[in-house]
């Protein structure tokens, strides 16, 4: 295994350079003179395995930096542990990373429940929980209580609010029907949508939950149609979002559709279009902050060219159209930026300090104009995005960047 051989190599290097190493300052765990070790869990097996692309994108980015000599002459090793999307396994995996493998920071662990399960532990151990891959609001909101934890992406609450504002401002007396996943993720989006609608004439007339264990959402869509709504908000994971489109089309229901960002990727929308036969898809609204690899706009974009070449080189066989890889590279890029700022003598406390004072307007994997920014009480790294409309087979952005002040 890569980690093991690296450790072995590091041990040899340490033995040779022991006097030198002793002369240097004492760094935090996970840092040697030649490497810096990050670790995180990701679902490599089980129902959420498609999200593993997030970790693989980040790893590919680190590998590319390592090929150029690493950061401050240190290679970035990123150990990915499978947790099968089960928080109990996340706990075991993360304790293993911290106590046995002695990682410098826990990075990019995926899932709201998984990150919640390890947050108290990591904060007590004073190990950074860097860029938790989840859109729960708590990562930014509770930064004072959990100084060692920071998220990355815009919160689901911010996203839901943006949809609510959009409907309130652009549609008179809209009747909104909502299909939502029956957990914190779906409920966050639904709650924020309602508060975004506010006191406008538009309101939510029906909301149907579904369980992730359900085979299909046909019954829910039929009920939502019966509510007489003219707007359908889909707050679901990709498989169920596709189903929602398919069932709405079968029922001959033609609402205006809002689909949340997790499912509103181009490859999912193409699947939902059923080869152009499904007209419900046309005109759908979503919001996004990442550059979409299938979007022809980015054909000659430097960031996306970099993305494609890195993925082809460092993650062979990976699906280049899978936008989760782009997400992984975006967090990888910011992490390398943080490590660079730490310089020759990285510490865990220094890492968190740097993460709480980011200001990067040039992440090549995020939409132009998006600034990764924290500091002075703001603990949400990314809180911008752009609304876009599905038009003739691709996403077309409209309006400017939205900026969430509330999160």
């Amino acid at each position: 295994m890569r980690l093991r051989s690296t450790l072995a190599a590091a041990a040899v290097a340490l033995a040779v350079a022991a006097p030198l190493a002793l002369a240097g300052s004492s760094s935090d765990p996970g840092v040697t003179s030649t490497s810096i070790l990050l670790g995180g869990t990701s679902p490599l097996t089980g129902p959420a395995a498609s999200y593993a692309s997030v970790a693989r994108g980040a790893k590919a980015y680190f590998d590319s930096i390592n090929a150029k000599g690493g950061v401050a002459k240190r290679k970035i090793d990123y150990d990915i542990v499978d947790d099968a999307y089960n928080p109990a396994q996340t706990v075991q995996g993360v304790r293993r990373l911290v106590e046995q493998d002695k990682v410098f920071a826990v990075f990019n662990t995926l899932g709201t429940e998984s990150n919640l399960a390890i947050r108290d532990y990591l904060n007590q151990m004073k190990v950074p929980q860097l860029f938790a891959a989840s859109g729960a609001t708590t990562w930014g909101r509770d930064a004072a209580k959990y100084p060692w934890t920071i998220g990355f992406q815009p919160s689901y609450a911010a996203e839901g609010f943006v949809y609510g504002r959009y409907v309130a401002q652009n549609m008179k007396k809209a009747k909104v029907a909502v299909l939502f996943q029956n957990d914190d993720y779906g409920k966050d989006l639904l709650g924020a949508l309602k508060s975004g609608l506010g006191r406008s004439g538009s309101k939510v007339v029906a909301a149907e939950p579904y369980q992730v264990t359900s085979p299909d959402v046909g019954s829910q869509i039929a009920k939502l149609k019966a509510s007489g709504a003219n707007v359908l908000a889909i707050f679901a994971t990709p498989t169920f979002a596709i189903q929602a489109y398919v069932f709405a089309n079968r029922l001959g229901w033609k609402p205006k559709v809002i689909v949340n960002g997790v499912s509103g990727t181009s490859n999912i929308m193409v699947l939902a279009s059923e080869g152009g036969k499904n007209k419900v898809v046309e005109g759908s609204i979503t919001t996004n902050v990442l550059k979409d690899p299938t979007d022809p706009r980015w054909k000659n974009d430097a960031g996306m060219k970099l993305y494609r070449s890195l993925l082809a080189k460092y993650s062979k066989g990976a699906n280049v159209n899978d936008v989760y890889h782009v997400y992984g590279m975006a967090v990888g890029y910011e992490t390398v930026g943080l490590l660079r700022r730490l310089g020759a003598d990285p510490t865990r406390a220094g890492l968190m300090k740097a993460a709480r004072s980011m200001n990067d307007p040039k992440n090549p994997f995020l939409l132009p104009g998006v600034v990764v920014k924290t500091g002075s009480g703001d603990n949400f790294p990314v809180q911008q995005g752009r609304l876009q409309r599905w038009t003739k087979g691709r996403w077309v952005p409209f309006g400017g960047l939205w900026q969430s002040k509330r999160n």
Binding site: R2, S50, E113, T213
Partner: protein, 357 residues
């Protein structure tokens, strides 16, 4: 060998094992002690499951659900559920929740044992499987008791548990990991001894009679209803204690903590350990804890070529390895590690008495 010598050898072996368990943490890293604590927890669950499946012949694919009952009992007694609108304020120290966890799970097991009387073989497997599958959704439904999908954090009450901060016990200071190790293994060894006592006597004979032939058991005066439900109760109580310990070790519980996969792995554990034997179960427990890790190349890095390890770290890779190993084990170890032991014993014995050629 006479039964008496056999028993003497058994006692000596058990005493050696206890001594081994007692000194082991001195020779391994702090973190390993924590991993071995999980092995003890799985051992407790396997001991219970083996009473039911190995000795009484009733297949359960739902023991994860009984672990969940114990686990939630422990979490609720410690952290309470008033924060979700439930009636219990919590505040009990972690160790004292365990007997209650065992009791609650045991009672549920007894209750389930009654209808299970009507089922056998694959049908019972299917029915218990149904329980394991239904458990997470049911837990979510009763949110005011269980905290719904988010679950319960035991970290919120660090003063009640030794799994978070150092523990002072018998004049010594233990790290959380060593504390978990000694707590889990003490309970596991007691559980082992209790299982042995139950199984060697009248009750054990009745269990085995039920397994070997229900008709013969009934005609020799064994009450099927009594012993089958009893086996369910005992088995579930073991699972409940294991579930409680599991939650203490993880300091966290939610509906995904005890997935269907866990129930299945437990069954795999007793088959690997050897049905109807106790000592092999230690290997079953090691297997249950470590195979998922080994499947992703953890701990085996230096033994495997990098090329293979890289493949197993791709999405889906660990599952392929895990599944294939499972199937191969059923081929090469039909009677588990315990069967291997017995077989080795027989071979040795035979060689001793075989006439020279």
């Amino acid at each position: 060998m006479s039964p008496r010598t056999q028993r003497a050898i058994g006692f000596v072996a058990f005493a050696c094992f206890v001594a081994f368990v007692a000194v082991l943490p001195a020779f391994v890293s702090d973190f390993k002690a924590r991993e071995y604590a999980y092995v003890a927890i799985f051992l407790i669950a396997l001991l219970g499951l083996n009473v039911l499946t190995g000795y009484t012949g009733q297949i359960s694919l739902g023991h994860g659900a009984f672990m969940a009952i114990g686990g939630y009992t422990t979490a609720i007694l410690m952290a309470g559920n008033e924060q979700f609108g439930g009636p219990i304020s919590g505040g009990l120290k972690d160790v004292w929740t365990l007997p209650i966890a065992g009791l609650v799970a045991g009672l549920v097991g007894l209750a389930f044992g009654l209808p299970a009387l009507r089922l056998s073989g694959l049908y019972l497997a299917l029915a218990t499987f149904a329980i394991a599958v239904a458990m997470p959704s049911t837990v979510k439904r009763f949110e005011e008791w269980t905290g719904g999908g988010t679950g319960i954090q035991v970290f919120a009450t660090p003063e009640l548990t030794g799994s978070i901060t150092n523990v002072h016990v018998l004049g010594r200071t233990l790290t959380p990991n060593d504390w978990m190790y000694y707590l889990s293994w003490s309970i596991a060894l007691v559980a082992f001894a209790v299982a042995w006592l139950i199984l060697r006597g009248r009750t054990g004979r009745a269990f085995r009679a039920v397994r070997d032939s229900e008709t013969a058991a009934v005609s020799s005066g064994v009450s099927l209803a009594r012993y089958k439900t009893l086996a369910f109760g005992v088995s579930a109580a073991y699972a409940g204690v294991a579930g409680g310990l599991f939650v203490i070790a993880s300091a966290f519980v939610n509906p995904d903590t005890f997935p269907v996969a866990l129930s299945i792995f437990l069954l795999v554990g007793i088959v690997v350990g050897g049905l109807g034997g106790l000592s092999g179960l230690v290997f079953g427990a090691i297997f249950v804890y470590y195979l998922p890790l080994w499947s992703q190349g953890q701990d085996l890095g230096s033994l495997l070529p990098d090329r293979i390890v890289e493949e197993t770290q791709k999405p889906g890779g660990p599952a392929i390895v895990y599944g294939i190993v499972l199937i191969l084990l059923m081929f090469v170890l039909p009677n588990g590690v315990g069967g291997l032991f017995r077989r080795a014993g027989q071979l040795l014995g035979r060689r001793r008495y075989s006439p020279r050629k």
